[in-house]
């Protein structure tokens, strides 16, 4: 089985990865990460979102070997309970989850947006998240969380 070298959450890893495996398979099954979730396998729902070299990406559609040598960041690498990323902290404060299955994608997509564009309009936030589906209808709280995170980041800057 071919070896695959990646940097995951700032740690260099070498895993066995089959030709058929997706990046999502490797992150979940080889590295035991729970953040990225399987939702559709078609890049439609965003539940599996991670960052590849700092850019939001749907890990369910990336063949694992396509990510060779790249830097992957998952929810676990964004922040921890002891030290939340500002977006995670804002999601907690805004209570932006019902079932929480889409939460990973929402946080990763929003954090990528704010890293790029610290002061997005509400319209921009909605557009950025338009490819992340939520069935519970938590959209209101999620948008509020992203705005909250943006204001916190602005205050810290």
């Amino acid at each position: 089985m071919p070896e695959l070298s990646l940097t995951v959450n700032a740690r260099a890893v070498v895993v066995d990865a089959t030709r058929e495996a997706t990046l999502l398979h490797v992150l979940r099954n080889e590295l035991g990460l729970n953040g990225p979730k399987y939702g559709c396998g078609l890049g439609q729902c965003g539940a599996c979102t991670v960052w590849v070299d700092g850019v939001a990406a749907r890990s369910c559609v990336i063949p694992a070997h396509g990510a060779a040598g790249r830097k992957i960041t998952t929810l676990e690498g964004l922040g921890t309970r002891a030290a939340w990323h500002p977006v995670q902290a804002a999601f907690e404060e805004a209570q932006a989850a019902q079932c929480g299955y889409c939460l990973n994608g929402m946080v990763m997509q929003a954090a990528a947006l704010l890293a790029r564009e610290p002061h997005p309009s509400e319209e921009r936030i909605r557009a950025e998240l338009s490819g992340n589906l939520c069935r519970c209808g938590t959209h209101v709280e999620i948008v509020r969380a992203v705005q909250l995170a943006a204001s916190r980041l602005a205050a810290d800057a």
Binding site: H25, N34, C40, G41, A47, R58, Q88, H139, V140
Partner: protein, 1251 residues
């Protein structure tokens, strides 16, 4: 994180009951409920398991609280914690809530009917109060003070007047064990004294989810766990009929023999599953296992849901018959008969269902089967699993973990049973994950419903009569594995579930309510607001219609007939909060504040309902009223719900924040259901579904056809309304269920608002743009409207803004020199000799050589490596999955199949015995070392242009490679192409072996480009069309585009259909990086070429670009032209609304947008600039949709999923047709898309078989 506490530890009732240092409150296992005809199965508790545990207070100060329901994302875990904290006077962080697990939680039935707090929290609340009383009494005894002199805070009992005298709960329970039986008459706290209940509390489950900790069943892993996948039968959506469990014909296990790590293939009648060591291999096996099915009758025709429901046999139940309904209708001043129709809808969980099962028949703990599941009915599931596996229920341990929100019953139970069967077969723990397609296709749907209302107005404008009849196809949905294995008989069973909220909320003297109970048509289960939401849609639309007929404001009309005070207060307060505009008919706001002639019609609609559920007459959950503000675009039919104001009366709100979030969720989900959601069924096939393997892309007769989010879209962030919630102040009342109530009036409020905006009444959701437009059209111009603005109001149509037409080839294009007439004649002569010689078998063999050591310098070898990359040698000379340059790749040509040769220096099978002269002759003349002719699929016709010096370097590189032994398979060519000597004649006619001669009038860069493009680069091999004998055509046909290997190699000259002609810069970007901002991305075989070109130095890429650009017209401002093309396509956006547009928006638009969507990995060249959309052939687009992009040319480009398994052929035809119309509005529609899709599917299937 919390440290380990005693409250977290117990896994079973027995562990609670045998522990020391604890106070436990139990209740006897309730006796089996008497069977209720027509109601869903309730599973009684098993007395063998002992009393049920409700609460335990531990000697470390922690407490376990147990409840039989589960948290479906509604936050009941937090609310229950508040209730226990309140009654027990213990801090919330000390409490552990345990939900649903069969071995420890009480059996309180499925988590349904919004009853978790309203009904089922009561035992736990009593238990907490009883425990507190016991603790207080014990403290009083120990402290020697009467209970009245004590107070309790945070698990600490102290004497009010003497703070030094206190005891903790931990101390009070230490060193003993007390078990209390629940006393139903326990005194509860006065709500006026509440400190925790009624306050906004953060959800306790969110931090773990934000940190990616183990919460979801999807993330559960155990040692030795294997991965399972199921293969479902063709009849997606069926749950009755004798074909169920009888349709499997055969499976061919050899079809997956090549997949490593397959541990079991399980076949039990129609249940088919696979277990593999790795998840990706289980998925591969699921796709590749060849299964033959017998013919089956097909699903009933659901193209007309109303008719299907009328035709479905039913039994009528008369629920109410007050007054003289028939007489009143006969006497009505304005009789009114209306029909409302509800479609089948999906639960549409974001996470497809998943479960993990472990089979341990000899386990010492007595559990032969342990299942981790996201089920909402763990005890019912336990009974199902026991039946399926032939076990006692107490041998099954169902551990409930969180899952994606289901809003009713999704595939969670199904997959748990699947996992059980696979775990037993594999003898190991097996995790089964349903695919998105399986979840969509097989989840038991929210049922369709038909509501007929007859009645009307009396002479005074009151309601003369109300005769309501509803038809609801049932929703039992037995767990799938039970049906597929025939552990239960697949018989259609009618439940009495259609009666929720069947009674209208208004007081009517002449009232009749009838329910037609009927068996299911499609496999269905309860979905949020089960049967109440559709019934309320009818009630609240009808009352609005009556108000309009009476000429009375709809809110006032309701209030006249609404005699429930709490309801009337809610209605008034909500209308006031929303700024309700009194009206006596549709307002049809034409200007909507946008000025005269604007396209947006504004409307406001009202609706009210109290969700009444459970067995008739049922009981009420919360009250809810909506005011919806909508915008209707009269030119496109689009409905946007701009704002929703919800008034809500849930009585006491345990956690007001939680209730508010539930209301938001209900509003958003209901808006989605009203505007866009509808299950579609595949067309009927005459004679039912045929026998054989399931054909990918062709769903069988009548089955569920939408299998991903493009076909079944749900609302996204852009469409979410502004929501304002108004809670009625009722904290002194009992708490009422809030999980569903606010969804119930929603659809009618939206329909009423659309009526207000347009004057058109919609009685059948979803209110999609095409439905609305068809009903609005033709809409008379508003009085005083601007004529211009209305000129194209009649229909949406394709509009092509003027953009540059395909450009022409420059007049001075420097076509490459071809053979002159004389050269051809002489070549023919020589060729004739060649043919003769060939026929005689005469062609010299070049003596083999034996190389012992590399004879070339490292610099030369390195130069050769770059040249080999330029020549893409490895692309063709590497078999799929084989060693680089070792040959063996099959090349399909119009003349037959040939195989590429081994270029490594292996003496037997490769170039090991080739001298440079032999290599040079092959490259220039197409003759192999042994003298046999090569076919021009090997592009020696181009390679001949290469200089001797470069050929030397190439040769050096091949000779320096490590030898690989790999014999070349024999080619298979049709006559006469199989006669190799004839190639001599071909060469005489078409081949010029002379090296490239620079054109003096052109620059050095241009000449370098020409040398590379026409030489090693052999661009013409793919991009120049060939004549009947397979030779590249000359003149303006040069690089004018051709088909190769099933892909279109588009024209590289001015004949290109690209929206923006190619420039040198664009070509450079494309060849260097795999994409050009104004021209698109390299895909298909071109991706391989670009990948190879990565090794080629920049100046050579520049040179090729300069040369190729000289065949294209000069473009003064490519970005401006590109912007124009993008704008032209964007102008089409609003004119092509409908299912294909929704498919595109939800399947493609996250990545493919014009800069107004998410930023995701990979380039996003606007599709208007993508030559696959502008081409005359749809092949490249269709292939990309079917197969995606797994191996992009460069890492900039990003990846694309294959949609071939998720979309059916009809959807792909729709999608491609839409993309063409939207992104290439200047081009004619592709005429034969359906055939093209079928052809490419067939190619794909054939390739899959050959693999």
């Amino acid at each position: 994180m919390t440290k380990s506490r005693r409250a977290d530890a117990p896994l079973t009732r027995a562990e609670f009951l045998s522990a020391e240092g604890v106070l436990v409150v139990t209740r006897p296992t309730p006796p089996a409920a008497p069977p209720t005809p027509g109601q869903p199965i309730a599973v009684s508790g098993n007395p063998a398991e002992g009393d049920e545990i409700l609460l335990a207070v531990w000697d470390d100060g922690s407490a376990s609280a147990l409840h039989g329901h589960v948290d479906l994302g509604t936050g009941i875990q937090t609310a229950l914690m508040q209730i226990v904290a309140e009654e027990l006077d213990l801090g919330m962080p000390c409490i552990r809530v345990m939900l649903g697990d069969t071995a420890r939680a009480p059996n309180q039935g499925g988590t349904i009917a919004s009853a978790s707090i309203q009904i089922h929290a009561q035992p736990l609340r009593l238990a907490a109060a009883q425990a507190r009383a016991w603790l207080l009494e014990r403290a009083a005894e120990w402290l020697g003070a009467p209970p009245a002199s004590l107070e309790v805070r945070h698990g600490n009992v102290r004497v009010i007047d003497d703070a030094s005298r206190q005891l903790t709960y931990a101390q009070l329970v230490a060193g003993q064990r007390t078990v209390l039986q629940l006393a139903p008459d326990t005194a509860l706290k006065n709500p006026a004294d509440y400190r925790v209940v009624g306050t906004r509390q953060p959800r306790v489950d969110i931090p773990a989810k934000l940190a990616g900790e183990l919460v979801f069943v999807h993330d559960m892993r155990v040692p030795g766990m294997l991965h399972g996948r199921v293969v479902r039968p063709p009849y997606a959506g069926a749950d009755h009929g004798d074909f169920i469990g009888n349709t499997l014909e055969s499976i061919d296990e050899s079809s997956i023999a090549h997949i490593p790590g397959v541990r079991a293939v399980v076949v039990l009648r129609d249940f088919v599953g696979i277990v593999a060591e790795r998840e990706e291999h289980a998925e591969q096996a699921m796709r590749e296992l060849r299964v033959r099915w017998k013919a089956w009758p097909g699903m009933p025709d659901l193209s007309n849901v109303a008719q299907a429901l009328r035709d479905n046999p039913s039994t009528q139940r008369l629920l109410i018959d007050d007054g003289d309904v028939d007489g009143a209708i006969a006497r009505a001043a304005q009789p009114m008969r209306r029909t409302y129709v509800w479609p089948y809808q999906m639960h549409a969980s974001i996470g497809p269902s998943c479960a993990l099962a472990d089979w341990q028949p000899d386990a010492t703990d007595g559990f032969a089967l342990r299942v981790w599941t996201g089920s909402q009915s763990p005890h019912v599931l336990r009974a199902d699993l026991a039946k399926l596996m032939d076990l006692q229920d107490v041998q099954v341990d169902v551990i409930r973990m969180e899952a994606a929100g289901c809003y009713g019953r999704n595939g969670a139970d199904d997959v748990a049973a699947d996992a059980a069967l696979l775990a037993r077969a594999a003898g190991a723990p097996v995790r089964v994950q349903l695919t998105r397609e399986q979840e969509h296709a097989w989840e038991p749907k929210g049922a369709a419903q038909l509501m007929d209302v007859n009645g009307g107005l009396d002479a005074e404008g009151g309601i003369a009569a109300y005769d309501f009849e509803t038809s609801y196809p049932s929703n039992g949905a037995p767990t799938l594995a039970l049906l597929l294995t025939r552990a239960v008989e697949p018989v259609a069973q009618a439940y009495e579930m259609g009666d929720r909220t069947a009674r209208p909320p208004y007081t009517v003297d002449n009232l009749r309510v009838k329910v037609n109970d009927m068996a299911p048509i499609v496999r269905a289960s309860w979905l949020r607001g089960v049967s109440a939401l559709p019934s309320s849609f009818a009630h609240e639309s009808y009352i609005d219609e009556l108000a309009t007929a009476a000429g009375v404001d709809p809110v006032q009309f309701r209030l006249r007939h609404l005699h429930d005070e709490r309801a009337a207060e809610l209605v008034q307060a909500t209308a006031q909060k929303a700024g309700w505009r009194m009206r006596t008919g549709p307002q049809e706001y034409a200007d909507g504040g946008l000025g005269k002639g604007g396209d947006i019609l504004f409307g406001q609609g009202f609706a009210y309902a109290r969700y009444v559920h459970s067995k008739w007459p049922g009981y009420g959950a919360a009250w809810a009223a909506w005011v919806a503000d909508v915008e209707v675009n009269r030119k496109t039919g689009e409905v946007h719900v701009r704002r929703v104001v919800v008034g809500h009366d849930a009585g006491m709100m345990v956690n007001p924040a939680g209730v508010e979030h539930q209301i938001h969720g209900n509003v958003i989900q209901t808006t989605s259901r009203a505007l866009m959601e509808e299950v579609r069924f595949a067309p009927q096939q005459a004679g039912g579904a045929p026998a054989g393997e399931m054909v990918v892309g062709q769903p069988q007769s009548g089955v569920v056809a939408n299998r991903e989010w493009g076909g079944y879209p749900i609302i996204n962030f852009r469409q979410v309304p502004v929501i304002e919630v108004m809670h009625m102040p009722r904290q002194g009342e009992v708490p009422l269920g809030a999980g569903e109530s606010s969804s119930v009036p929603g659809t009618a409020a939206i329909a009423n608002a659309i009526f207000d905006a347009t004057g058109v009444r919609f009685r059948e959701p979803p209110f999609t743009p095409e439905v609305v437009l068809a009903a609005l059209n033709p809409l008379p111009a508003p009085a005083g409207g601007d004529a211009d603005a209305d000129a194209d109001a009649d229909a949406p149509r394709r509009v092509a803004l003027p953009i540059a037409q395909p450009s022409r080839v420059p007049a001075n294009a420097p076509w490459p020199k071809r053979k002159g007439a004389w050269a051809t004649v002489s070549a023919l002569l020589i060729g004739g000799i060649g043919v003769l010689a060939g026929v005689l078998g005469w062609r010299s063999t070049i003596a083999p050589v034996s190389l012992t050591a590399p004879v070339y310098s490292a610099t030369t070898v390195e130069r050769g490596r770059v040249l080999a990359a330029m020549g893409d040698c490895a692309v063709c000379h590497t078999a799929e999955g084989g060693q680089a340059n070792a040959g063996g790749r099959a090349m399909d040509t119009p003349f037959g199949t040939i195989y590429t040769t081994n270029l490594t220096p292996d003496p037997e099978t490769g170039l090991g015995r080739w001298s440079f002269s032999a290599f040079q002759r092959a490259m220039r003349e197409g003759v192999s070392r042994d003298g046999h002719h090569l076919y021009p699929a090997f592009p020696y016709t181009a390679f001949a242009k290469t200089s001797d010096d470069d050929l030397q370097a190439l040769y050096a590189y091949f000779m320096a490679m490590p030898p690989v032994q790999s014999a070349t398979p024999k080619s298979d060519l049709k006559f006469p192409f199989g006669v190799r000597p004839l190639m001599a004649g071909w060469n005489a006619l078409f081949h010029d072996p002379a090296p490239y001669v620079p054109v003096a009038t052109q620059s050095a860069e241009w000449n370098r480009g020409a040398y590379l493009v026409n030489g090693l680069g052999h661009c013409g091999a793919c991009h120049t069309p060939r004549n009947a004998l397979g030779a590249e055509q000359g003149g303006s046909a040069f690089l004018s585009g051709a088909m190769v290997d099933g892909w279109e190699a588009p024209a590289l000259t001015g004949l290109s259909k690209a929206a923006v002609p190619w420039t040198a810069d664009a070509l450079y970007g494309y060849l260097r990086h795999g994409h050009a901002p104004s021209n698109g991305t390299a895909g298909g075989p071109m991706a391989d070429v670009v990948r190879e070109l990565q090794q080629v130095p920049d100046e050579d890429i520049r040179a090729m670009s300069t040369y190729l650009a000289s065949f294209n017209p000069a473009v003064p401002d490519p970005p401006a032209l590109a912007a124009q093309a993008v704008q032209s396509a964007a102008a089409n956006k609003g004119r092509l609304l409908g299912a294909p547009q929704r498919l595109f928006d939800n399947a493609c638009a996250a990545c493919h947008h014009d800069g107004d969507g998410p930023t995701l990995l990979g380039v996003n060249t606007p599709l208007a600039l993508n030559s696959n959309l502008t081409s005359d052939r749809p092949d490249n687009l269709l292939r990309t949709i079917l197969d995606g992009v797994r191996e992009p040319a460069t890492k900039d480009i990003g990846f694309m999923p294959a949609f071939g398994d998720a979309l059916d052929d009809a959807q792909i035809v729709e999608l491609a047709g839409y993309m063409r119309a939207r992104f290439a509005p200047q081009a004619a529609p592709w005429p034969t898309l359906a055939k093209d899709v079928a052809r490419l599917r067939a190619d794909r299937a054939a390739n899959a078989l050959n693999r």
